[in-house]
Symmetry: C2
Subunit: 451 residues, 2 copies
C-alpha cells in the first residue's frame, strides 16, 4: 500500500492537500457559524477574526481562547465549538468514512487512502472496520466519562446543567481540547481528587491514539503489540513518571497550598504531570508555577502526545526514537533498536527532520511575534515562547499573550495550531505540492508513526 501515498487523487490534488483543505473547510464553516449573532450570548455578531481563531482552536483541539467560552458564547455557540472539537478530535476523515457507511455505500479507494493518511495507517487493509472500532470506542469512553463526571456535577449544578457540563467536559477532555466552562480552568477542582482522576483517565484514553487502542483491544486475539504501540506506551508512561518527579522538585508538591491535604496536593501534581503535553487543563495556572516548572512545561507541550491521537506537538514516539538513536550513536552502535526491533533509517531521519523543521518554524514565529505583539514591561521571552509552543502543542495554556493577540498574532497562532494538529509534514507537503520522498533504503522492518 506504500506506493499509494504518492497517488494524486483525481489527478489534481495530492493527499496532503485534500487533508489540509478538508480541515480548512471545517474551520471556515465553523467560523461562519460562530460569527452569527445567535452564536453569542448577547446576540451580536462576533468579529470574523475572533470567530476564526475560536473555530481553529476548537478544530485543532487546542483550547486557546480570545473570548471567554462560558461568558461569550450562547448554547448554540457552545454546541458548535463542541462539534468542531469532536470533528477535530476524531479526525474529519473518520467522519467522511462514517458518512459513506451510513449511506450504505462501499467506501471507495480514495476515501480509504485519505483515512489511512489521516490516521497514519499504513498497513490496514480494512479501513472501515478500524474506523468503526475507533468511533465506537471513542464514543463509549466519552459517554462513560460523562456519566462519571455527572456523579460529581449533579450535586454541584443540578441535573440539567450537570448533564450539559458533564458532556462538554468529557468531550473536551477525551479530545484533549482543554476547553472548559469555568472562568479559570479547573482551579476550583484542586480539592476534588475524584474529578481530577476521571479527567486524567479521559485525557490519557484520548491521547494514546487509535493504533495503540486497536492493539490493546485485539490483544486477546492475536497477542501482538506493534513496535509503535510498545514505543508509544513506554514513552507515554516514562513521560508521566518523569513529569511527576520534575514537578515534585520544581513545585515542591504545592506545599504552600495549606487548604489542601497531602493526598490532594499529590493528586494535583499527578494531574499536572498528565495535562500539559496536550490537554491544556490546569488546577494551578501556568502563571503561578515556578520558572523551572514553566520551562519544563514548555518542553512537555513541545513533545505533545501520541501520533494518530488527538494530540499535537512533535509526538512522543518521535522523541522516543531520537533518544534511542542518540544513545545508540553515543554507544557506538550502528542500529537504533527497541524491544528486539530495529528502527528504519527513514523513520529516524524523518523524525530528526521533523524536529529541526519544528525548531525553525517556532523560532521564526517567536521572532516575528516579538515585533508584532506588545510585550508588557518585566515580561521575559517566555511571554511569547510559552504561548507559541502551547499553540503548536495544541495545549492551549497561556501566560497572558493569547487574549491580547493582534490580528497578525492571531493568524500566526492559527497557523501554529493548524500545523500542530494536521502535522507539519502534511501542511508543508500541501504548500509545496510535493510528494513524500521515496525511502533511500528499506529494511524489512517496522515503521513507527512520528507525527
Amino acid at each position: 500500500l506504500r506506493g499509494n501515498h504518492y497517488l494524486r487523487v483525481q489527478g489534481k490534488l495530492s493527499l496532503p492537500q485534500i487533508l489540509t483543505l478538508g480541515f480548512l473547510t471545517i474551520i471556515l464553516v465553523g467560523t461562519i457559524l460562530l460569527s452569527l449573532p445567535i452564536a453569542s450570548r448577547d446576540g451580536t455578531a462576533t468579529s470574523t477574526i475572533n470567530s476564526f481563531f475560536t473555530a481553529t482552536s476548537a478544530t485543532c483541539v487546542t483550547g486557546m481562547t480570545v473570548v471567554n467560552t462560558a461568558l461569550h458564547w450562547s448554547l448554540f455557540g457552545k454546541i458548535v465549538i463542541l462539534i468542531l472539537v469532536e470533528i477535530g478530535g476524531l479526525g474529519f476523515m473518520t467522519f467522511a468514512v462514517l458518512m459513506f457507511v451510513f449511506m450504505r455505500r462501499k467506501v471507495d479507494l480514495t476515501t480509504q487512502l485519505l483515512t489511512q493518511q489521516s490516521l497514519n495507517l499504513e498497513t490496514f487493509a480494512n479501513t472501515r472496520s478500524v474506523v468503526f472500532l475507533v468511533v465506537r470506542l471513542s464514543l463509549a469512553i466519552q459517554l462513560l466519562g460523562a456519566l462519571l463526571l455527572l456523579v460529581d456535577f449533579y450535586p454541584r449544578y443540578g441535573l440539567k446543567k450537570g448533564i450539559g457540563f458533564s458532556i462538554f467536559h468529557s468531550i473536551s477532555a477525551f479530545c484533549n481540547a482543554g476547553f472548559d466552562l469555568f472562568d479559570n480552568s479547573l482551579v476550583r477542582f484542586q480539592n476534588d481528587p475524584y474529578f481530577l482522576f476521571v479527567l486524567t483517565i479521559l485525557i490519557i484514553s484520548g491521547s494514546l491514539g487509535f493504533l495503540v487502542w486497536k492493539d490493546i483491544l485485539l490483544y486477546h486475539e492475536d497477542h501482538y503489540l506493534s513496535l509503535h504501540t510498545k514505543l508509544a506506551l513506554t514513552t507515554y508512561l516514562g513521560l508521566i513518571v518523569l513529569s511527576f518527579g520534575v514537578y515534585l522538585l520544581t513545585e515542591g508538591n504545592f506545599s504552600e497550598n495549606q487548604h489542601l491535604d497531602f493526598f490532594q496536593r499529590l493528586m494535583n501534581t499527578y494531574f499536572m504531570s498528565v495535562t500539559p503535553r496536550t490537554a491544556g487543563f490546569y488546577t494551578v495556572a501556568p502563571t503561578h508555577i515556578s520558572m523551572g516548572g514553566m520551562f519544563f512545561t514548555m518542553i512537555l507541550m513541545l513533545i505533545g502526545g501520541t501520533p494518530g491521537s488527538t494530540a499535537g506537538g512533535i509526538k512522543t514516539t518521535t522523541v522516543g526514537i531520537l533518544l534511542i538513536r542518540v544513545w545508540a550513536t553515543l554507544r557506538g552502535k550502528r542500529d537504533a533498536t527497541f524491544m528486539g526491533r530495529r528502527f528504519t533509517n527513514s523513520n529516524v531521519s524523518r523524525s530528526l527532520t521533523l524536529v529541526f523543521l519544528v525548531a525553525v518554524v517556532l523560532s521564526v514565529a517567536t521572532l516575528v511575534l516579538t515585533l508584532t505583539e506588545k510585550i508588557p514591561q518585566h515580561s521575559g521571552i517566555e511571554y511569547i515562547m510559552f504561548d507559541v509552543v502551547s499553540a503548536f502543542g495544541t495545549t492551549g495554556y497561556t501566560l497572558g499573550l493569547t487574549p491580547h493577540l493582534t490580528v497578525i498574532g492571531k493568524l500566526i497562532f492559527a497557523v501554529l495550531m493548524f500545523m500542530g494538529r494536521v502535522g507539519v509534514f502534511t501542511v508543508m507537503y500541501s504548500l509545496l505540492n510535493s510528494k513524500r520522498p521515496e525511502d533511500a533504503f528499506r529494511y524489512p522492518k517496522e515503521n513507527v508513526m512520528i507525527g
Copy 2:
C-alpha cells in the same frame, strides 16, 4: 585513514579521551596559575572556583567572566589568560606538534592522529605542513591585527599600554575569545568604525576555520574548493547578511543613539551581525537590545561558527546541511545536494543527532539552573537560557546571571563551555568510552565537518 579513528592509542585511552583530557589538563594548569597570589592585582589568592571558571572560559575561548578581567587580574594573570586563549584558539594539539617540530623530531603517528582529530582533518597525509600553515597564518593575522589596532590605540593610550592592548585584543578577537580590558566590552568604540572594522576582520579570519583557509591559500595552485569550504563560506556569508537584516529590523539601526551618525550606526549593526555567533564582543550590551534582537542573538549563539575554527555552538555547516536536507525532504527529493555534490547519509544523520543532543543538554542545564540559581524578580526565562546558550556557543554574552553564578552554576557553565569548544560528540564519546559508529552506508562522496 578513516579506520584510524577507532585506534586505541597505547591500548588504553581512546582519541576523544586523550583530547578531552588534554584540554582538561590545560584548564587545570591554568586554574593553578590563576589562583596564585601574583595573578591577582591586589596580591591575594583567587578562589579555586573563580580561577577554574576563568581558566575554562579562557581555554574554551568563551570570554565569560566572574571577575572583571582588567580590574582583578595582574599583568601575570592577564598573560596567563592570553596564553590559555591562544592555546584554546589554535587547539592544544597544534602546539604539541609544534613542540615536536621544534625539538627536531619527526612527528609520530599518534600525534598526527590526534591533530587530525582535533582539527577534524580526515584526508591530510601531511599533518605537519598543515599545522605549520595554520600556525604561520594565525600568527601573521594576529600580528597584522595588532599593528592595525595600534594605529587606534597608540593615540589613545600611549605606546606601552597601546602595544599591550593591541596584542591582547588582536589575540582575543582572532581567537573569538571575547575577553577585553575595558569595563563594558567595546561600548566606547561605538563611534570608531575603523576599530570595529579591523575587529570584525580579525573575528571573521579566526572563525572561518583552518580548512577553509587552507583551501583559500592553495586555490592558486589547485583551483579546488572542498565541499566543506563551499558550504562553510556560503552559510557564513548568508548568516551575516541575514543577521544584518534581522537586526536592522529589530533594533531599527540604533536610531535612538543620536550621538552616532548614520554610517556609525550602520557600522554598529554590522558589528552586531558578526560578533554574537562566537566572538562575544559588543558595542551595545545584550541587556540593551530589544526582545526580538535578544531572541535572535540566542539563535546565532546556538549556531556558532565554522567547525575546525575557534568557534563553539552547533556550527554553521551543521545548520547548512540540515536546511538543505529539510528543503530536499519537503520538495520530495531523495538526496540533499549542494553545488553539485551530495551529502552522505551519515553526515546528515550525525548533524541531526548533534542538534537533538545539544537540545537535550541545554534543556537539562537550563532546568537544573532554574533550581540552583537565584533569579531576580521580573526576570524571564532568558535570564537563564541566554547565558546557557552563550556558554555553549562560547560567545560569552550575559544578561546578568554569569557574574552571580553559584558554585554549582559555575561548574555547569564550565561543562557547557567545554562541550561547546571541545565538541559534544568528543566529550560524550570520552565519557562513555565508546568509539564512533561505523557508517551504515557509504557513498564515494565528500564529508562535511559538522563540529
